[in-house]
Symmetry: none
Subunit: 83 residues, 4 copies
DNA sequence: GTGGTCTAGACCACC
DNA sequence: GTGGTCTAGACCACT
């Protein structure tokens, strides 16, 4: 899903992928995201890249993270309220 | 009552729930709290998490515990003196 | 080992039994005694009786007990220093 | 170094050991303590017990810990200013 | 019954 | 790598 030839950075691409899951409703409000390591393995990117992508989503208010607990989809972050 | 997606840890959430019962006067001074095991079952958390929550309330001076007897609401811990 | 027809109380008899194990060196300094429940089952006496016997040995300085840890033979409590 | 027959709990004993290293100046201000897992292995106790010991030293102001970095001796925690 | 201590393991974000 | 949180279980003395 991450395209090395894309003009967008890995982090941006990963953020796009995750953002889509959130906005599409695949990951609903309150959903617990996979851990950083799992995401890194799943998309074959470095952990730093995962952190950069999550930083972006955090700034957008789509996810919130809590030390020792995990990263979660913000309750009000869904683009498709229906579904 | 414990929300895994809350920004607060399980222990903090449980402390919040218990603190509210105390401050609201639902549990009046001298009231004996449910046992640690009962609380763990009631809120579906581990006993260690219950103890962490009670540790917090103990530091706040809202409850006192006696080995072999239980945990009780401190005489001066109520927010609603009336009732 | 506890004789219902003995003129000595169950607690005294149990204390005698345990004291012998200590003084004889069978239970050496630092030895951790069986738990109260185990002792009660082993000698077929009530837990209160076990506590009474242990109280006696504590007064004699032969054992020390710590909440949540257990009861131990006092380091200097052996009658047979040799062994 | 942790004595199961001590009158003090494992956590207290471990706190004693570490406190001595600090107060004696063996671990000077700013010194980074071994990680929790290392301490657990070194003293053969569970990590939870290590954390209980560190909690105590933290309350005493002898150490400070930073998530993801480690636990360090507080600048003012030394008993032997010279050395 | 109660709380107190300890174990062994897991998964998490942070650096 | 680090510490932070949580689980599930054990055994203990105390009341």
């Amino acid at each position: 899903m991450i395209d090395p030839w894309s003009p967008r950075s890995f982090a941006e691409q990963l953020a796009d992928v995750l953002r889509t899951k959130i906005d599409s409703g695949e990951w609903r409000p309150g959903h617990k995201l996979p851990g950083e390591i799992t995401l890194a393995q799943t998309y074959d990117v470095a952990r730093g890249t995962v952190r950069a992508a999550l930083d972006q989503l955090r700034e957008e208010g789509r996810v919130v993270t809590f030390t020792g607990r995990g990263t979660f989809v913000t309750p009000e972050a869904t683009g498709s309220p229906g579904a």
